[in-house]
Amino acid sequence: MRSDIGRKELWTPGRLLIAGFGGLLLLMIVAGVDALMVFHQSRTTNAELRSDFLARGRALENIRNGIYLSGTLARDYLMAPLPAEALAQRSKLLETERQTDAALEQYSRTLGVAEAESFRSLLAEIHTYWRVLDFMLEPDHAQQHRNSSYFYNQLLSRRAAMLTLADDIAKRNEEDVTNGDEKLARMFDDFRFRLLLILAVTLAGGLALAGTTSAHLLRAQGNLNQLSSRLVSAQEEERRSISRELHDEVGQSLTALAMEAGAAANSPEAPEELRRRLESIRQLAEHSINAVRNMALLLRPSMLDDLGLVPALQWQAREVTQRTGVKVRVSAQGLTEDLPDEHKTCVYRVVQEALNNSVRHAQARGVRIEVTGQDRAIQVLVQDDGQGFDPSQCQGLGLLGMAERVRHAGGEIDLDAGPGRGTTVRVKLPLPRNLTA
């Protein structure tokens, strides 16, 4: 046995439990906070992505419209019959250019890496386009180029290129959204991994905690069982030695005293008065002898050690009958004389307790005791015709003591009692291998 008595342990079971459960709780809190944060982040990220996407889409749409509109306005300008109308168209065109530039400026602020190149090309194209348009729309050049196919070709091809670029950027923009989705998915994947990790750690920690706690409990239970077994056998040993001491030492001394006093009382030379006193001393000694004998028998009947189980049970039965008038019958079958001491004592004490219960609590009129040796086991039956009782209501020390003794000897006990059907106690004790019943 480990001797850790008196040593202060850092990890007492209580502290271990508190620390363990605290740790598990902390892990769960961490997991919960993480989850909340991830959900919050995903929501904001999603909203940002959406609004970004929409804003860029709008800006791109404005750019595209600007390009279309500028073409139309340029054409209208050239085809305007009056200079005043042409001027109005021109200012409209300049306004469109400005708006488009603003949209470009806006777009550039939220520019993604993937679309940067396309956007720079688009920007360059558009600026060139503006320059060409502006040059063309200079009042001096206007008339002169009105029918020029150069501009027509120049503008048309540039416009087509620009629109392709814008489409390209729109596609990239969509890709960005997809990328954002992927980012979100990755975030969720990370989160799931962390959650699984925490879950695994929690589970492992919980199992470990349960394991150590059960081990502690089992050990404590084992210690308790051992202790109660030892208590039972120590009590029995004590009773035996006190009983022997009373019977052999005190009893014999009193016997000698009675004999001497008796002999002296009978000696003819002693005066009458002295003889009378000696006789009364002898009688007192006899009383004491009887008292000592009864006390010794109650503690532990000497028959159990001198004569064996059955004579001891028969003595017990006679005692109870004499004392209470309850008829007790003992029958025994197939028992060897050399039963192990533990079994003898166990059966005797169990019968004693059951008999006590029957007489004291169940108001029985008759009790039947059967002890049978069979198949390497002793079967004991104690049955009374009393009023019975509810075993669940009566967990007295007596019943517990019986169960403890039987358990210690490796046997089973079964108690059947109910109002109106008497009480039956059955015990089965296996015998050691080297003994047959």
Binding site: H247, D248, G251, Q252, S253, T255, A256, A258, M259, E260, G262, A263, N266, A285, E286, I289, N290, R293, S302, M303, D306, L307, P311, A312, Q314, W315, R318, T321, K327, R329
Partner: protein, 216 residues
């Protein structure tokens, strides 16, 4: 007249002294040895070949009952009287079966011890009156409880007479002489008695007689 030679066995010196004092008051008794346990008692019995061995039941090494059994086996002419603190029937039965012919309670009057030694030295048995009373009461209760027929009623008056003589420890020859019968007749009676009472040995018959209050 030759004195009765006695061996005392008790693990308590004070008790042995008391016994010796009592016995020595009678000139026809001679204490030839004292033993403090069963083995010593056997040794002294072998050496002294006494007429009577008086012993306690509870002795170390070899208890009184076992010692009595060996003495009855090995030295049949030495009769054993048990002197015991135990009042219980179980002890009396065990002692009887071991060949003990007298059972005296230690706390009984000294006259009982003298009577017991006298009885067994002349071949009869002896039981303390309180023991007889206990055995009789137990027997009556058993008969009552079990509702058994009293087998004693089955015996003829001659058989009852012979039962008493056997229980007192008389030999068949002695009984034949006393009743003026042939040895064969006595033996036949004896068989009938054992059969009718469903008994199997002389110790059982003695116990029966004590229980029935036939001998005193």
């Amino acid at each position: 007249m030759k004195p009765v030679r006695i061996v005392l066995a008790d693990d308590h010196a004070v008790v042995r002294n008391g016994l010796r004092l009592i016995l020595q008051q009678h000139s026809d008794f001679l204490v030839v040895g004292e033993a403090s346990d069963g083995r010593e008692a056997l040794r002294i019995t072998a050496r002294e070949q006494p007429d009577v061995a008086v012993m306690d039941i509870g002795m170390p090494n070899l208890n009184g009952i076992e010692t009595a059994r060996r003495i009855a086996d090995e030295y049949p002419h030495t009769r054993v009287a048990v002197l015991s603190m135990h009042k219980d029937e179980g002890y009396v039965v065990r002692a009887l079966k071991a060949g003990v012919r007298a059972y005296v309670l230690k706390d009984s009057a000294e006259s009982e011890l003298i009577a017991a030694v006298r009885a067994i030295s002349s071949g009869r048995s002896f039981f303390s009156p309180s023991i007889r009373k206990i055995l009789q009461e137990d027997y009556m209760r058993q008969l009552e409880d079990d509702g058994l027929e009293d087998t004693y009623d089955l015996l003829t008056s001659r058989e009852r007479e012979i039962l008493q003589l056997i229980a007192e420890g008389r030999a068949n020859k002695e009984i034949a002489a006393m009743l003026n019968l042939s040895l064969f007749t006595v033996e036949t009676h004896r068989t009938h008695i054992l059969q009718k009472l469903n008994l199997h040995s002389v110790p059982e018959l003695i116990l029966y007689a004590v229980r029935k209050g036939i001998i005193r």
